[in-house]
Symmetry: C2
Subunit: 457 residues, 2 copies
């Protein structure tokens, strides 16, 4: 070793480490007092046996098939999210600068934080929640990485063990369904009608399924855009309380009301205080900043905070501090006004386009806010099959099948309108309308040429 080190001008320790490496790989063999010997090729071990990943990963539950491949379409109704063009870039920059300008704040957000959330943001949200009547004395508030994580954490603390059932809306957005399925929890769908979750169907489902929890969207449900009337909110609360079911109120679109009067959340109506309310910034402000929150009884929030810590310690503090300042400075309120103005125009354009372009016999929901309208085509037209044609003509959407829980939604589709300017919405509907109408006409014609059944004599 000394000799070799001298010859090639390297440190002796480096040479020793190289020998160690070679020996570790069984390429040489050291014999004390004799030296190191190159092993014969036959003695080299078999190539290391790789793992069988397919087998190892098979234990993890399979989710539903992923959505159809959507090409980059010039007009896409496929994403339930705000348009980039509406992002308040200047106010966002000003907010970031204010946050990092303060040395104490900057140092505190860079250090490890609390699993329940960044204290100034938590205080702010709890104060606003108390004013609104959704945070009571018996409640607590936990900040998460958005509504998806809120659902995931709740699933962990309520459904672990895997032999429980959760009732969800049918149709529902796949992220909600998958959070339970991926953990091996059973889900059962409760039909959604023009006024949100069907209360009679819920009563039957509770009897039949004996669920542990129920997730319900009170306003502007995704994908249907529907809202529960006040009486339905009471009725759902009563059913859940009587059956001892945990009621989870999903309310991430609630602030995006463009028309009509706001309704109280189920959480506000719940005298027991047991309803769990989920909220988020991602539909209103910045989806790329992952911050949402959960309001619920203290005992529940304590366990939720433990699960959060075990999951990822805490939510990113830079984003929490930026959002906190964004609220405090009044910029969120101003941005909300703009979003509501833009949303109202886009919703109007969508409903007008539905009336004008869809074939006769179509039906569609009439939301007063949110980001989505649910369209159902007549006469057995399949929205999934017709998607390819729409994409060839530059228009994309998600077919109803993708949102199904137990029912068939093949003749339906979700129109997410919030990301598109009104003229794009009209253009997109003109394309869809012409495809759907021509297909509908073809089927009508085929039907009228069908030979009549032979008369029974």
């Amino acid at each position: 070793m000394r000799e070799l080190a001298g010859q090639i001008g390297l440190n002796r320790q480096t040479i020793s480490m190289a020998y160690e490496l070679l020996e570790g790989e069984s390429l040489i063999r050291s014999e004390v007092g004799r030296g190191s010997f190159v092993t014969s090729p036959a003695k080299v071990e078999d190539p290391a046996k790789p793992l069988n990943w397919n087998e190892l990963l098979s234990a993890s539950p399979r989710l539903d098939p992923p959505p159809p491949i959507l090409r980059q379409a010039p007009i896409s109704f496929a994403n339930s999210r705000p348009s980039e063009l509406l992002f308040p870039l200047e106010p966002f920059r000003a907010t970031c600068e204010e946050v990092i300008a303060d040395e104490t704040v900057a140092a505190s957000i860079l250090q490890l934080g609390s699993p329940a959330g960044y204290a100034p943001l938590r205080t702010l949200l709890a104060r606003d929640g108390a004013r609104e009547g959704v945070v009571r004395q018996t409640d607590d508030l936990v900040i998460t990485n958005g509504c998806q994580q809120s659902l995931d954490l709740i699933q962990r603390i309520l459904c672990s063990g895997g032999n429980s059932t959760v009732l969800i809306e049918d149709p529902v957005y796949p992220g909600l369904k998958n959070v339970f399925l991926s953990a091996g929890t059973r889900v059962a769908g409760v039909p959604v009608g023009p006024n949100g979750m069907d209360v009679d169907a819920l009563a039957k489902a509770i009897q039949r399924e004996r669920p542990r929890a129920l997730v319900v969207t009170s306003s502007f449900q995704n994908p249907t855009g529907t809202t529960l009337p006040l009486a339905a909110r009471y009725a759902i609360l009563k059913l859940a309380r009587e059956a001892g079911v945990v009621l989870i109120e999903h309310d991430i679109y609630g602030e995006l009301r463009y028309r009509g009067d706001a309704l109280p959340t189920i959480k506000q109506l719940d005298a027991t205080g047991d309803t769990i309310l989920l909220r988020s910034f991602s539909k209103l402000a910045f989806p790329g900043l992952r911050v949402g929150w959960v309001i619920g009884p203290k005992a529940f929030c304590t366990r939720l905070t433990e699960a959060k810590q075990s999951c990822d310690l805490h939510t990113d503090q830079l984003s929490q501090a930026v959002l906190s300042r964004f609220i405090e400075s009044g910029r969120l309120a101003e941005h909300r006004r703009k979003m509501i103005e833009a949303g109202a125009e886009r919703l109007d354009a969508t409903l007008a386009a539905c009336a004008k372009f869809l074939p006769p016999g179509s039906s569609y929901t009439h939301p007063e806010g949110g980001m989505n309208v649910w369209v159902t085509l007549p006469g057995g037209l399949d929205a999934g099959e017709l998607l390819a044609r729409a994409q060839r003509e530059g228009v994309a959407y998600l077919p109803g099948r993708y949102f199904a829980v137990n029912r068939d939604h093949s003749s339906s589709l979700r129109i997410s309108f919030a990301g598109l300017a009104p003229d794009k919405i009209r253009q997109g509907f003109a394309v869809l309308g012409s495809i759907y109408r021509s297909e509908w006409q073809r089927m009508e014609d085929a039907r009228s040429f069908e030979p009549a059944s032979p008369a029974l004599v």
Copy 2:
């Protein structure tokens, strides 16, 4: 209703909603054509039945008891994290400003992102990983909210179903143990000696436990600060491959080497490419910004990305963009130099203080990097019992018991030195040394005064 609306000057719709509310709460009863009637008190339903949260939450597995309550101590060795005083505030600010100054970048980080991570950061980390030899052609890279979430996601896709065992180090930091326990996965500890995980004990544990996975820290393990020698890295790899065990290499302190030569990671040595490598920014740069990453075979990473999406859609993009720019600008490399300089001083001060202040018969590890030294007291001294006295004198630490998996560590403690300046380290050890020495002396004295056993005649 019209009358009441006129009387109190409110919209009729508001009055109608108030009636609906009262009826929902069963306080009034409407009869068509007759009007609304106040229900008799007897008819008001029983107060809503609250949920029994203790029962509902009982399904979720209990974790180990939380750590001892640590008072705000003037000198705390309790946190394995960098000092706030070392945070690069000015470079951080400059980086944030650069990120938000670019309109395209700002808009893209505010929009929903990819579950696998922000593309520019992923590309950068993959390129650096390829240069270092830890990212092969067959590998992929997934960004998470830090190492805690990496472990949590891996647990989900490898251990779901709950009847698998994972081997972990004993002692180990509780976050690692709890991520498996909270999901109902069994853990078994493999003893850690002065050179990291004990290879012979591992061989026996694999035989005995038939584990699905093994989590091993190659450098500067938490809590012991120990590092696996090259030969042990080879040996562990060989044991894992022969038994078909998934090897997860935890390497979040590896870059904080203050002395000695860097060793190749196990991932680099693994010819199969199957080793999964976990890394993070949180020990090196900003713990409050939650960004880590996983490198592993493509099939594994595909499933990991699905789990990530189901968990929380994606990691916060503002932090990812800031960290990406922090690397690109060379500021991370510069900050690393400063951290290593500060760490070296602090490690030296710690080891010198161990030699000077600890009572005779104490032992302690001799790390070459990282943030922790593991101290074991002589003669049955209990580090947990003596913590209260230390806290009264203004010094805090975490007792060994808190890091236990299967073995007893009551005479040990973790000294996290990275957050304290050298003079604070010396002051803290002077206090601890005097407590431990006096207690050790008291026990020695007690022993010498013990009456001799009566002679057997």
